[in-house]
């Protein structure tokens, strides 16, 4: 419990740093993004939006401290300001519309990649030195060296345009209305296949190697020798005895890799015009929509912090040694 409280405190601190960076950044930067924005949107913004921009960029005449407090209070109420690219929608509405898609895409690919990579790692670690072991790791390392989004472009071109096997983009068909029914769920899965496959392909190698190396070191330990001596069948020794312990090191890096994968999936979304945060981000960059960019940054960072905490809870439950060193 003390371990988890400590972790929680750490994530709260990280969240506070994130919020503060978000506050300080526009006020610190050279040049004046706000002035440029005002010039561009002269006469097109409602007084309400102008005021929201002014508070966001620190143009109000209040002292920094009081600006900071009102900023924190606004964020606590979920008020992130007004988006410029999607005017007059508020940033939190725009971000919320894409957050679930991004978490679905990144989280789904991460889980698939973790399971598949770990399974391959078990196979490669078990038949170490075999042909699989000499082909798979270097091949996946090569794939892992490609930028995620570039891999996505090639797969979209080959699987979507040339072969026509997969839909060319978006999260679901235009003529379907979102809802909890089988047709919609199937269509969402169908549209997610290619983007997920490209992320999985790029990240598989890392999981495979972590699993392989930790399995090899676990297989050399005494309790495995005992399991063999008891005459247990190989599948039982591998899956019930070795894998359960070999999984722990890769679980520990699960949380941290979520940040990497989210970053990669942002770029992948752009390639597939997937309606998540990445797609919004491009609109924000093109439209110089600073409030939206910051809102996306906040949403993604807080999601990653939350996910990391969940992984810590899971690790503490699976491996009591982490909580009681």
């Amino acid at each position: 419990m003390r371990f988890l409280l400590g972790r929680l405190g750490f994530y709260l601190l990280a969240a506070w740093v994130t919020l503060t960076v978000n506050f300080v950044l526009p006020r610190l930067m050279p040049g004046d993004p706000a002035a440029a924005l005002f010039a561009r949107f002269q006469g097109r913004l409602s007084p309400q939006a102008l005021q929201s921009l002014q508070t966001a960029f620190g143009l109000s005449h209040a002292s920094l401290a009081s600006q900071y407090w009102s900023y924190l209070a606004r964020v606590a109420h979920g008020d992130l300001g007004i988006s410029i690219a999607y005017f007059p929608a508020s940033v939190e509405e725009v971000v919320a519309s894409g957050l679930l898609w991004t978490l679905f895409l990144a989280g789904g690919s991460l889980v698939v990649s973790y399971l598949l990579g770990s399974l391959l790692g078990i196979a490669v670690g078990w038949w170490r030195g075999g042909w699989l072991d000499s082909i798979l790791p270097p091949a996946l390392a090569f794939l892992g060296a490609f930028p995620y989004f570039w891999l996505a472009m090639v797969m979209l071109y080959l699987g979507g345009f040339v072969a026509g096997w997969f839909p060319l983009g978006h999260a679901y068909r235009d003529d379907l209305t979102p809802g909890f029914n089988a047709a919609f769920a199937l269509d969402v899965l169908r549209h997610a296949e290619l983007p997920m496959a490209s992320i999985v392909l790029a990240t598989l190698g890392g999981w495979l190697l972590t699993m392989r190396n930790s399995l090899i070191s676990v297989l050399g330990s005494d309790y495995i020798r005992l399991a063999w001596a008891k005459g247990l069948s190989p599948p039982r020794v591998v899956f019930r005895y070795a894998v359960r312990n070999a999984l722990l090191p890769s679980l520990a890096s699960f949380g941290m890799s979520l940040g990497f994968v989210l970053g990669g999936s942002l770029l992948t979304e752009i390639v597939f015009s997937y309606p998540g945060q990445g797609y919004l981000l491009v609109q924000a960059v093109r439209g110089q929509d600073f409030p939206l960019m910051q809102g996306i940054f906040l949403a993604i960072t807080l999601s990653v912090l939350g996910a990391n905490f969940l992984v810590d809870v899971l690790t503490a439950w699976l491996d009591p040694r982490t909580a009681h060193p």
């Binding site: 950044l25 790791p137 390392a141 892992g144 930028p147 570039w150 190697l209 990497f260 960059v285």
Partner: protein, 309 residues
């Protein structure tokens, strides 16, 4: 006790390369790219000159076709090599230096210094890099220097963590205690006693950080956050996507730049794993059986999401 005391010396660099196919392959590929970066731009037409019709497939006139604007793709790829590699290497070097500074200070002084610096390091590790980089880059004036600065800010933490752990371990060793007792200053001990014993890790980190830097740089520029008037692999991909290369089936506009990124990354991974085989005592001293097993593993750099323990 300085560098001479490192665990073993196996011949010179030439020996190392002859024995290690992986490292020599990686180094060879890198040298090829380095040569292209240095002299390539003198042999191709200006990358932004409009030389032909837009989106022409590869032909004798334009070996890799033309972009959506009618520029020569080969010229863009070759010229882009220089700045892409420069940013990658510069960022890699800076993140290692900054990471070493923070990590070694934390590891050497311990106590409260360590607590504060480790906390900062861990916070930077847990905040996702790309979203932070995007927000930073959006506020800075567009240009290669901004991109480099942003990538250093988001990339140093992992180096700091590894080097802190290593410094902590070395701090316990007798030769460091001896130096402390003989009254050497802290700075002197860090630079003369501890640093030389971490050279192999530093080189591995430099390789890993460069892989990270090139990948992240391409990602940022692909988003349109770089200076779009410069030519790099990232801006090439940005323009390819902007000119809807995918919709028109113009595969030749985005294939070369991405392939170059991957080849450089792969070469660095190969160099790293070859280097690891030779210098990592754990891969050598724990018996031939074990080293033969582990030696087959390709050790990935930081561009992949999994952080090996």
């Amino acid at each position: 006790m300085t560098a001479d005391s490192s665990p073993r010396r196996s011949g010179g660099a030439a020996d190392f390369l002859r024995q290690n196919a992986r490292a020599s392959f990686g180094l060879g590929l890198l040298l090829l790219f380095g040569t292209v970066a240095l002299v390539g731009p003198f042999f191709v037409p200006a990358p932004d000159a409009l030389l032909g019709l837009p989106h022409q497939a590869p032909s004798w006139a334009h070996w890799l076709g033309t972009t959506g604007q009618g520029q020569d793709v080969l010229a863009q790829t070759v010229v882009g090599t220089r700045l892409s590699l420069l940013i990658g290497l510069g960022v890699g070097l800076s993140t290692v230096v900054w990471g070493a500074l923070v990590g070694m200070t934390a590891g050497y002084f311990g106590d409260r210094t360590d607590a504060v610096l480790s906390l900062i390091t861990n916070v930077f590790l847990v905040i996702p890099g790309l979203p932070l980089a995007i927000v930073l880059a959006a506020y800075l004036p567009a240009g290669p220097l901004s991109v480099a600065l942003v990538l250093v800010i988001t990339g140093w933490a992992w180096n700091a963590r590894v080097l802190r752990a290593q410094t902590l371990a070395l701090r316990q060793r007798d030769f460091v205690s001896a130096a402390v007792v003989s009254g050497e200053s802290s700075g002197w001990i860090i630079v003369r006693e501890i640093l030389p014993n971490m050279l192999t890790i530093l080189v591995a980190q430099l390789i890993g950080s460069t892989i990270y830097a090139i990948g992240a740089e391409v990602g940022l520029e692909f988003l349109g956050l770089g200076d779009l008037s410069t030519v790099t692999w990232g801006t090439n991909l940005y323009w390819a996507s902007n000119d809807s290369a995918l919709l028109t089936g113009a595969w030749w506009t985005y294939l070369p730049s991405g392939l170059c990124v991957a080849l450089v990354g792969f070469a660095l991974v190969m160099l790293n794993s070859g280097f690891d085989q030779v210098t990592n005592p754990r891969l050598r001293s724990e018996g031939r059986w074990r080293s033969a097993l582990l030696g087959r593993g390709v050790f990935l750099g930081q561009s992949t999401p999994v952080v090996s323990p």
